[in-house]
């Protein structure tokens, strides 16, 4: 059937042009406009997504807690490198308004889609609205960590919601993180499921006392899972002692991970029938400019997704080293003549991974931590107490500037993490806090900001200093 043959009524066109007009006005006034056009259009025609989505030959959806944006952007990047025109909402606007905005912008004036493939980042809470309309060919699940619980209340609800949604999408293939029992729970009872995972044992150590373990329970019988090793949090090689649930053998397996600086690892395609690796299919040797162990999962998921939709392995292997980060995922700047790293922090797992990435780097460091509590950040900031600020080596930290609407609470958190009063400065304002940071004598600056202040810092740093990441995505994500 010609997917384009859906009869679009008057309401569709009214909504479509209202959305186009809003996008035009946003551009005119230099607003970011990644959500507003979709919001306007959806007010007129709530079913708009059902009309727009069939224009695409392939739709890939990425959902989960952490790593959605990086994974989405990487899949789009691989597809473009393979010569496939791609549209996506890879700017973090991942609720229905953002998805509709992206698709409206992809159409020409006559409503015809310009791209053939859509790669969509889908907010965990929005899967029920978006997925039934776009009917993805492939859904990628990154992981389920505790994140902004005031918005979603509990992980169980999110997973139940996705399971209920895909019950009505029997054709959709799933690509799940084998190392995360919560992600694996999504695919229980389905046949078209592929898994990716990272081979142990990264540290071969027991779970550290303060690390958070959320969801290390059997999805089938509720028993506490037994682990042979952990990667981080509940990710690892697990099994249930009461029933048959265990980590599925990954189809896509990362081996020999080197995360001491820029990432490097091998990707093996495993033949599950024999359990043997298939070197004749080629083991990919992957080098990336990304840092941080958590990015191994993002690269792995994106490479696997790209291969599943037909991107040749050589293209992935050859193009990955040229890819660098989009706004906010540890972006590099020069500020006051010093290297300055800007990173998004939104939950304890993210903070812990950022800290692990920063720690091995030599030299004196000055930090700026900015936490807001607006809807886009999550209104509850108590997660700051679940993050291991204790791990920051005091002797290497010259100062921490605390900023944002919750500046005082960051300061309190750091005080109880063992920072002396002389190392803590309070400066709630964005510009002012950056001024104070710029006065600190240090070898490197690090700015860790929650969502709504991140882009203000990025903007200021581009103005006052300079961005050094090549291929950096310059567009500013907006709130959805």
């Amino acid at each position: 059937m010609n997917k384009n043959s859906i009869n679009k009524g008057f309401r569709f066109w009214l909504a479509f042009y209202a959305g186009r007009l809003t996008a035009f006005i946003c551009r005119l006034f230099r607003l970011s406009g990644t959500s507003l056009p979709g919001a306007v259009a959806l007010r007129i025609c709530p079913q708009l997504l059902f009309y727009l989505a069939p224009a695409y030959e392939k739709v890939i959806a990425v959902t989960g807690t952490n790593g959605k944006t990086t994974t989405t952007n990487l899949i789009s990047y691989f597809l473009r490198q393979a010569g496939v025109p791609v549209i996506g909402n890879g700017e973090g606007a991942n609720m229905i308004n953002g998805v509709v905005t992206a698709l409206i912008k992809d159409c020409n004036f006559f409503g015809a889609a310009q791209s053939r493939t859509a790669v969509l980042e889908v907010d965990e809470g929005s899967v029920g609205k978006i997925l039934p309309a776009v009917k993805p060919d492939l859904i990628v699940v990154t992981n389920y960590f505790r994140d902004q619980l005031d918005r979603y209340s509990e992980l169980d609800h999110i997973i139940a919601l996705l399971r209920k949604t895909i019950d009505h999408l029997p054709e959709t293939e799933l690509l799940l993180n084998a190392d995360d029992p919560l992600a694996v729970a999504v695919g229980r009872g389905r046949t078209a499921v592929r898994y990716y995972g990272v081979a142990g044992e990264r540290d071969c150590k027991e779970l550290e006392e303060n690390e958070i373990r959320e969801g290390g329970f059997c999805p089938d019988c509720g028993e506490l899972l037994t682990y042979d090793y952990y990667q981080y949090c509940q990710l690892g090689d697990y099994r249930c002692t009461k029933c048959s649930f265990k980590r599925p053998e990954p189809d896509f397996l990362a081996l020999d991970v080197d995360d001491s600086d820029l990432l490097h690892f091998s990707l093996y395609l495993q033949n599950k029938n024999t359990g043997e690796q298939e070197p004749q299919k080629g083991n990919l040797d992957l080098h990336s400019q990304l840092r941080g162990f958590y990015n191994v999962y993002n690269i792995l998921a994106a490479s696997a997704a790209a291969m599943l939709i037909g991107v040749p392995q050589q293209i992935i292997e050859r193009s990955l080293p040229d890819y660098s980060t989009a706004t906010g995922r540890l972006e590099q700047f020069i500020y006051q003549g010093r290297p300055c790293t800007l990173g998004l922090i939104k939950n304890p797992i993210g903070v812990n991974e950022v800290i692990k990435t920063i720690l091995p780097q030599e030299g004196k460091k000055a930090f700026l931590i900015a936490i807001n509590d607006l809807a886009g950040d999550g209104k509850d900031v108590s997660w700051l107490w679940d993050a291991d600020f204790e791990k920051l080596d005091q002797s290497m930290v010259s100062k921490v500037v605390c900023s944002g609407r919750r500046a005082a609470e960051i300061a309190v958190r750091l005080k109880y993490a063992g920072f002396t009063a002389s190392k803590i400065v309070l400066e709630p304002g964005c510009r002012e806090s950056l001024d104070v940071l710029g006065l600190q004598k240090a070898d490197q600056y690090y700015i860790l900001a929650s969502y709504t202040s991140l882009f203000n810092y990025a903007k200021l740093l581009r103005k006052r200093g300079k961005a050094v990441a090549k291929n950096a995505d310059q567009s500013l994500p907006s709130l959805s």
């Binding site: 505790r146 619980l149 005031d150 209340s153 509990e154 992980l155 169980d156 958070i212 373990r213 959320e214 329970f217 509720g222 506490l224 209104k379 509850d380 900031v381 108590s382 997660w383 700051l384 107490w385 679940d386 005082a408 609470e409 300061a411 309190v412 958190r413 005080k415 109880y416 009063a421 803590i424 309070l426």
Partner: protein
């Protein structure tokens, strides 16, 4: 001086930064040269709570309720004994609900709690989420004044709980809600007190933004009977965090 503390189910009930409460408790003791030993009490552990001065139980996802209750049943009498003896106890969120008389699930099943507090919880689809400000009850204000040197009578935190909790005839609240929902969003009560046991829905963690409350627990843990006084600390950051949020809520 030395305090023995017990953390109940740290791996299961560890939501919303609640483990920060023990960190704050320990640090504020250490800064006054008081040592705190913390034992973890895990699923499957048995035994009484003799010898503990402070027991802490935190919040968790509702899905953990049955798993914890199975075990809690067995140790409930020991917790009740300890509280009757004057042991200090702080229960937050789900931990507070579990230590009430019962929880009535959405499907009508009634599950018995540990019975430390005269409170019962009825689960429904309602959820109370947001910043919350309390005025301590007159009794609590008295105790706060006696225990410490921080002149604050309000408590501040972030509530995030489902269902409604009601105090029974013997139940005394921790405070009156000025802003937020509290126990049930109806009667203006928040939390519960019984002897030296305190239950609350305040996360944040509650002791971090309420150093006066932390010191009250510390004083009681050091000496349940006699009054003692603690050396004052520089609490300007904690008080700033408390007052900044308070100003926004009033």
């Amino acid at each position: 001086m030395r305090i023995r503390a017990c953390h109940l189910y740290p791996d299961l009930l560890n939501l919303y930064g609640d483990r920060g409460n023990l960190l704050v408790f320990c640090r504020r003791a250490q800064w006054r040269d008081i040592e705190v030993d913390v034992d973890q009490f895990l699923l499957g552990d048995r035994g009484d709570f003799n010898g503990y001065d402070f027991i802490f139980i935190g919040g968790g996802a509702d899905s953990r309720r049955t798993l914890v209750l199975k075990n809690l049943e067995k140790i409930a009498p020991f917790i009740v004994d300890a509280v009757e003896e004057g042991t200090v106890l702080l229960a937050v969120g789900l931990g507070f609900q579990l230590l009430g008389r019962y929880i009535k699930a959405e499907n009508g099943d009634v599950i018995a709690g540990a019975g430390v507090f005269d409170a019962c919880t009825e689960m429904d689809s309602s959820r109370s989420v947001g910043d919350i400000l309390l005025e301590g009850t007159a009794d609590l204000q008295d105790e706060l004044k006696k225990a410490g040197n921080i002149d604050i009578t309000t408590l501040i935190g972030f509530e995030n709980h489902s269902g409604r909790t009601y105090l029974g005839e013997q139940g005394k609240p921790l405070g009156r809600v000025i802003k937020g929902k509290g126990n049930n969003g109806e009667d203006g009560t928040e939390g519960a007190c019984y002897k030296n046991a305190f239950g609350t829905f305040l996360h944040g963690p509650v002791l971090a933004k309420n150093p006066h409350f932390a010191d009250l627990l510390l004083v009681k843990a050091l000496s349940p009977q006699e009054e003692i006084s603690l050396a004052p600390l520089d609490d300007s950051l904690e008080i700033l965090a408390h007052n900044t949020m308070k100003k926004r809520l009033i």
